[in-house]
């Protein structure tokens, strides 16, 4: 609005020019600011809604899981791998030279109790669900999980060892309600 076209516009009076420009500038700035602010509700509209956020905890009963078994539970619409590791698996997870890892992290930082490994079962590469939960599944070269989409290998601590995935499997926030139950979220 602040510009004048050369064609129909009669000449400006000299004195009024600055005041006029300021008025146009203020109006334009305010209209622009208002428009930008008005966009926020439309963006926020697409964010997770209150009912989705409210469903952010899941309780898991650990008692039926035998040593060496794994189950998959759902939390926030995502699979969570709960594995009760064997002594061998715990040991092989602990005895790793951290320097060899693409994403160095000691096993102790990935578990609350060594027996229970709880992680989000989504490959950090492009979001597939790695194999290795069921007895017949391929577990990759490191005895943990293997993502069939692009061949990422995870070890018994869920750390990335080989393949295109950039990070170890993510860990959900959880706590032990008692010895036999955890609450995820």
């Amino acid at each position: 609005m602040a510009e004048h076209t050369s064609s129909g516009g009669p000449t400006l009076e000299e004195g009024g020019e600055t005041r006029r420009d300021f008025l146009y500038l203020a109006t334009g700035a305010m209209a622009a600011a208002g428009t930008v602010i008005a966009i926020w509700p439309f963006i926020d509209f697409m964010n997770p809604s209150r009912d989705v956020l409210a469903l952010s905890t899941a309780d898991v009963d650990l008692s039926p899981i035998e040593v060496g078994q794994a189950i998959t539970v759902t939390w926030r619409g995502k699979p969570v791998f709960v594995r009760r590791r064997t002594a061998v698996e715990i040991e092989s997870a602990a005895n790793v030279n951290l320097a060899d890892l693409p994403d160095p992290q000691p096993d102790s930082a990935r578990v609350k109790k060594p027996e229970w490994l709880i992680q989000i079962g989504i490959c950090t590469h492009l979001g597939c669900i790695p194999l290795g939960q069921r007895p017949g599944d391929p577990r990759g070269d490191y005895g943990g999980w293997f993502c069939p989409c692009h061949g990422s290998h995870y070890d018994t601590s869920g750390r990335i060892r080989k393949g295109p995935a950039p990070r170890n499997l993510d860990l959900p926030p959880y706590q032990f309600v008692d010895d036999g139950r955890i609450r995820i979220g």
Partner: protein, 253 residues
């Protein structure tokens, strides 16, 4: 022509607001002074909490509140623990579990208010064939809104002479047809308010109306708060745009 325009606009608004004269006999509810009416009105928290108590102890026996979650009660000023406790007081069906069976568990804050009846048929069977309506939108879903609800709750009276009430019906001049299947729900002292307010029928009716008005329009406070800011902003912007328009056009003189 301005005069005509104004008259036209007035006639137009009249046409919009004209209450269609419906032949169903019904008294007009009197307007009450609600904490939440007007441009700046917000819900009275204490009244909301008392009203919630009335709903829980009286209305909830028959009326569901399906669209409201226990977690929503945080808006009434309850702490998380209190909300959890309210929810845990009810059982909901969940499942199937690993054995493939349905089971019940205490409700969680994320659950909807548990309905008193499993379905409409059970509700009708238990209520003499009448279906107690869900109250989630009650003040929005009735002409007169909160005023109507309040008038209805305190409006029970003896039928005028010569009026035959049907079996199991009560006389209430504010209800369409003047006969209502709901027996007078509120009696003096029906609840004991946690804050010590005397539980008169009028007090309980006003409080539960406030609570249900909130249940119908939980957005009300945020809406008005944002609205005031937006309107003030627009007033300034409109003034500036008008000034700019005048400046632009001043060239033409």
């Amino acid at each position: 022509m301005r005069g005509k325009l104004m008259a036209g606009a007035a006639a137009f608004l009249f046409a919009l607001s004209a209450n269609p004269a419906w032949a169903v006999e019904q008294s007009r509810p009197a307007a009450q002074d609600w904490s939440f009416s007007g441009v700046f009105g917000v819900f009275d928290r204490a009244a909301q909490q008392r009203g919630f108590q009335v709903y829980q102890q009286v209305c909830a026996a028959c009326h569901s509140l399906k669209l409201v979650h226990y977690r929503d009660l945080a808006a009434l000023g309850y702490a998380d623990d209190e909300v959890k406790a309210f929810a845990a007081g009810k059982e909901v069906q969940d499942g199937p579990n690993d054995a493939g069976e349905m089971f019940t568990r205490p409700a969680l804050p994320s659950d909807h208010f548990v309905s008193p009846f499993a379905n409409a048929q059970v509700a009708r069977a238990a209520n003499n064939g009448a279906l107690p309506p869900d109250l989630s939108l009650i003040t929005k879903a009735r002409k007169g809104g909160a005023d109507y609800l309040y008038a209805l709750l305190v409006g029970y009276a003896d039928p005028p002479e010569g009026m035959e009430l049907m079996e199991g019906m009560s006389y209430n001049p504010y209800f369409a047809g003047r006969q209502i299947a709901m027996p007078p729900p509120l009696a003096e002292g029906a609840v004991e308010f946690a804050d010590g307010t005397p539980a008169t029928v009028e007090q309980m009716a006003a409080d539960v109306t406030t609570f249900l008005a909130w249940a119908s329009e939980p957005d009300l406070e945020e809406r008005k708060r944002l609205g005031i800011k937006v309107i003030l902003f627009l007033l300034v912007l409109t003034g500036l745009l008008y000034a700019s328009k005048r400046k632009v056009w001043s060239d033409l003189h």
